[in-house]
Symmetry: C2
Subunit: 678 residues, 2 copies
């Protein structure tokens, strides 16, 4: 509170400047991490593809393609095994894209280990291994998590992984401040991943915001801008054109020129149909992944098994790719275009032509997406696209949820652009090659539909897609497609992130209250009888209540002495722990003159890992001492009458409010922490 | 409340669908209005420029240029007089850009007449006249107001100007719903004006949001998208290229190709310097306009005087333009480029060349801005730019605040791009023609700096500028320039909109609490003694209190019967008025069986123009009746303890909260209405 009051009207005092400095650093470091991932993957994957390509080229002439297959599968499996080993044994919190965890964190739930430096290291190296290992994953999702960890680390000015405290930014060691910075980090991550600074801001707001705070939003935007600029600058310099600034994100959809690929208003219903398909396919994906994840939770929980499964998937992906490429060699040979693919596989195609299936499979998924968007009509044969969609769908579904660091954005886009392009070819055939049925445009819409059908994000995803496309003209159709995909998908099953949040049993507060809670009043959801503390409370009772699992609350009301029904303050578990640890007892204050007064600093130093009550030793003597809570409790907590209907009231504030006179359940404290923390 | 509870979990019930339908119509009509304005101005201004050009061309050869001047001045003055007449005599609420009024409205303050159909009509025709009349105004600002009026009209399903009630959307007749739609309308207006749908959403959020509501934001975005699409579609069709979709907004900055006009990191400090200049010039503009507005409030309040002043400014603008063009005829003749200006004035220039000053003055301001951004180096001579900046600065400053419908965006951009280009030329000279000092790029930064220095918007303006530029690469420098301009400008004086809001004495709640309120508690800002009503209150007392100007509150607490200190509900002035009007008295309930029960519909029908208490007749007999407030009051209002510090608490919620046990001042009710309305 003190700091906030220091903030002058102009808003340019030290604290505010420091917030901007932190956001600037968040942007720079997030951008640099993205560059690092991009460059390393480019180099290592380049070597891998070169080695395999040489081997395949040799085998095509001399025979022994089965050895090429084994080489490919073994290389991939080895990379994936390393990546999976790190995740499974060193830091399981680094698994997956991390977006569900960040959603939870921004929602006010503390997921253990989610913003630690160790998690960041495992995440970054894990994603290198899994992408180089050829899994059906992207490097974009993990950037959001990486940005969030960077933000948490920088803003707190210390790392518990390295046990180092830089003694800076100490006043940011509170839940609200830290969460604000983590939002900025997540936004910077989105911005670096997709070159979408506005999309990043909207992502953070959509996932984390209850209130709209102008200065905070402005800072988040700043971090996003710095992040995409850093990435752009470094990557452009690395590629030899320092001033070019044409790499705003890790994935770049390439320029859609509105003159070349325009759409007509009568195509909009067609796009909406694609949204329907995307919604259904997305729901199918999520449903399959749900059952798979249930299976994994039940049977594959030992780290060794997780590593074995991941390695298996790595080998299987290579095998499927190889079989597909091999199977199509007689069907789909394409002449090498002016803008050639990076690693064209000739196989048994005539000289000057290459295998089209290999463009999709023998390539990083990012380049495959770009080819599907921009290659001229006729570059792909429908059978190739159909088989690719089917096999990649299954592979991506199998891959998500493995103990590897991986993103779902790019696989979704790839599946969607494949069937979207197929749809475009089909339309073009039906309308006998009408000029408007450009397959690239339909690939884009398919990609949007599939991604929307899987993740079910709305506003932020539209803006991300528009920014990555670099063309605002596509805004309306992309929006309609995403909307349709969400509506249709929601009809069957929840979004993939929400499924995984539920499966991890996180008490997540959604935007809408549950359907059954519509007529619940605050009084009904709260536990009874109320666990209160008096202003002057016995140490013994505090220890007893904090240790008791049945009163496992995070905050306790303090009623007035003479009128138990009236609230006069709220004391948090964490504050009580600090008070007990420092033995701030009324009896000691007089006897022990050397004891210094407890300061805000002591609470900050303990943040965020307050010790459990069990670790605090309280002697028999001390049990009878008293603690004066008056100056530590929050004297003005938010409160509502017990008869307030929580579902209706919760809409603006996202989640039930703190209730007067009634004890806080864990569920409420979660929302309370969002609302205002000490 | 009832309706909200009806909303199913899926969110696709009738009410929700209707909200989307309304947003769709808001987008369509806003887009159509923008098209109408654009096309009419194009045609009429085209005729005007043609007539004057022919006259000037003739006079140049045959002599008598003074007659051309008189013709030009008289034409302009006539147009402006018409426009001003409409505004001054028919609907003064249509004056200016309407952005300050919309800011107030979104902030929860009801500005009289601001969202009426009559205001819209005067606004639209007024802006036609003032733009055609050649004033230093833009047609973009008024679009935001127009969108807001359209939204209010459509969502309420009735118009009080035409006294027509369509009996649809009756459940949207409440403050919260209406304000949500008005946000969407304002966003649609921004979107149509600048082709910036995301910027529009952020504008609405920045100006109006306290809470972040996902579905609402999504709907606002939908309205914005539809609006820019409608405009784009209709304008493209009008210009003969229906599928082209290259007119997303009224103003289009033209494509900045990053390959052609790239910037280097070491230019960023230079851009920041431009931000400083923009901040200073913006503050100067605002300061001058502040004194001018004070003068106008004091001396020019009669409509006739207002019309005379506006006519005078119209004539003066034409004269200044003419003198400038004439004065420069020997200094700055430019060859007609490949992409010629629309109405080149040859004057005394050699054949095949035209007067460069005329590009800036003898043209719609939108095309002048585009020329300054994109014309190749050397198209303008520094003296021309300097004189133009100076004269246009004075004209724009004099114009803003006149009784005409006008926007400040385009004049600001024009002033900024002129001195920005001058700055670019200066840099290019200093660095001896270094390739990076492209004047167009500096014109863009100057435009951003000047606009930022005047209006002081942050996030939304950055996004609007980036979207209008169509190039995300410029995001970071534009953001830094706007930030610098705001910081520097705020050091001297407030933003132009805030100045005008203050001068109109609107109780506007800013983002930050006033500096002096930092240690105020809720108890201190509330009036005492408390004006309460009992659950069963005498009619006489209600009438007396509502009529008394010293208790001119909008809401009254209802304490518990047995414990006056405890709040049990809140009743609004508007509800009491409806109760009195329908004579819902306890004594009547038994005697008069025919009287039907008061329903939600009765409150809706009275919304939003509840009659004043003076117009309600209460007989002597009725004075002694009682009203039972129990079922009409809000039983669960938000409340905070009296000792809560309002400044600190107000930050997340924007403005002080409702305070327990203390009477609501008007100031608080404003914020209360924002928080939750009945």
């Amino acid at each position: 509170m003190e700091e906030e009051r220091k903030t002058s009207k102009m808003g340019f005092d030290v604290l505010e400047i420091n917030r901007w400095v932190v956001c600037c650093f968040i942007g720079i470091f997030t951008g640099l991490i993205a560059c690092f991932i991009d460059i390393v993957i480019e180099i290592v994957a380049g070597i891998k593809y070169k080695v395999i390509k040489e081997n395949i080229d040799k085998s095509t002439e001399g025979g022994g393609l089965s050895i090429s297959l084994v080489l490919w599968a073994a290389l991939n499996a080895a990379f994936v095994m390393f990546g999976s080993f790190m995740v499974a044994f060193i830091e399981p919190a680094a698994a997956g894209s991390g977006i569900p965890q960040i959603k939870c964190y921004l929602n006010g739930v503390k997921v253990p280990h989610v913003v630690r430096l160790k998690t960041l290291a495992v995440k970054v190296f894990g994603v290198l291994f899994s992408v180089v290992g050829g899994l059906a994953v992207g490097k974009e999702g993990p950037m959001i998590h990486s940005g969030a960890v960077i933000a948490a680390g920088i803003s707190q000015g210390r790392t518990s992984t390295l046990k180092k405290d830089f003694k800076i930014f100490e006043y940011f060691r509170r839940d609200t401040e830290k969460r604000d910075f983590v939002s900025a980090g997540a936004a910077a991550g989105v911005s670096a991943a997709f070159g979408a600074p506005v999309g990043g801001v909207l992502f953070s707001l959509e996932e984390g915001a209850s209130f709209w705070n102008q200065m905070l939003t402005w800072r988040i935007f700043f971090a996003s801008m710095i992040s995409t600029f850093t990435l752009n600058f470094v990557l452009s310099a690395y590629r030899g054109k320092p001033g070019d600034l044409s790499n705003p994100g890790l994935i770049n959809f390439g320029q859609f020129q509105s003159e070349a690929i325009q759409y007509n208003w009568y195509e909009i219903p067609i796009f909406i149909c694609m949204g329907v398909i995307g919604g259904i396919l997305g729901a199918l994906f999520n449903g399959l992944n749900y059952w798979l994840t249930l299976f994994r939770i039940r049977y594959i929980h030992h780290p060794c098994l997780q590593v074995i499964e991941a390695t298996l998937v790595g080998a299987a992906t290579a095998t499927v790719s190889f079989v597909m490429i091999y199977a199509m060699y007689t069907y789909d040979c394409q002449p090498i275009a002016e803008d050639p693919v990076k690693y064209p596989l000739q196989l048994f195609c005539p000289d000057g032509e290459y295998n089209a299936m290999a463009t999709a499979f023998f390539n990083t998924p990012e380049s495959s997406v770009r080819s599907l968007f921009h290659d001229p009509s006729g570059s792909y044969n429908p059978l190739t696209l159909g088989l690719f969609t089917l096999s990649y769908f299954i592979l991506a579904c199998w891959t998500y949820g493995l103990a590897v660091s991986s993103g779902i954005f790019i696989p979704s886009l790839l599946i969607g652009s494949a069937w979207g392009r197929l749809f475009g070819i089909f339309l073009s055939t039906v309308t006998r090659g009408s000029t408007w049925a450009d397959p690239g445009k339909y690939a884009l819409m398919g990609a949007a539909a599939q991604l929307g059908g899987i993740v079910r994000m709305t506003l932020s995803l539209t803006v991300i897609m528009v920014e990555a496309t670099g063309n605002v003209t596509y805004g309306l159709p992309i929006m309609l497609v995403l909307m349709t995909a969400k509506i249709i998908g929601d009809f069957f099953i929840e979004g993939l992130y929400d499924i995984h949040i539920k499966l991890q049993s996180v008490p997540f507060l959604g935007w809408e209250p549950p359907g059954t809670s519509h007529s619940l009043t605050a009084r009904e959801v709260m536990s009874y009888p109320v666990t209160c503390f008096k202003r002057l409370e016995k140490v013994g009772r505090i220890v007893e209540i904090l240790s008791d699992t049945s009163t496992n609350h995070n905050g306790f009301p303090v009623p007035e002495e003479d009128n138990v029904g009236r609230l006069c303050g709220l004391i948090l578990r964490s504050q009580l722990i600090v008070l007990l640890k420092h033995k701030v007892f009324v009896e000691r204050a007089n006897t022990n003159l050397t004891q210094r007064k407890l300061q805000l600093k002591d609470f900050r130093d303990a943040y965020p890992r307050f010790p459990p009550i069990q670790s605090i030793h309280v002697s028999q003597d001390e049990q009878n001492c008293t603690v004066d809570l008056t100056e530590f409790m929050n004297p003005t907590p938010y409160s509502v009458p017990g008869v307030m209907m929580i579902a209706v009231q919760s809409i603006p504030n996202r989640g039930p409010l703190l209730v007067l006179k009634l004890t806080l359940t864990v569920y409420t404290v979660v929302s309370f922490v969002k609302l205002k923390s000490v």
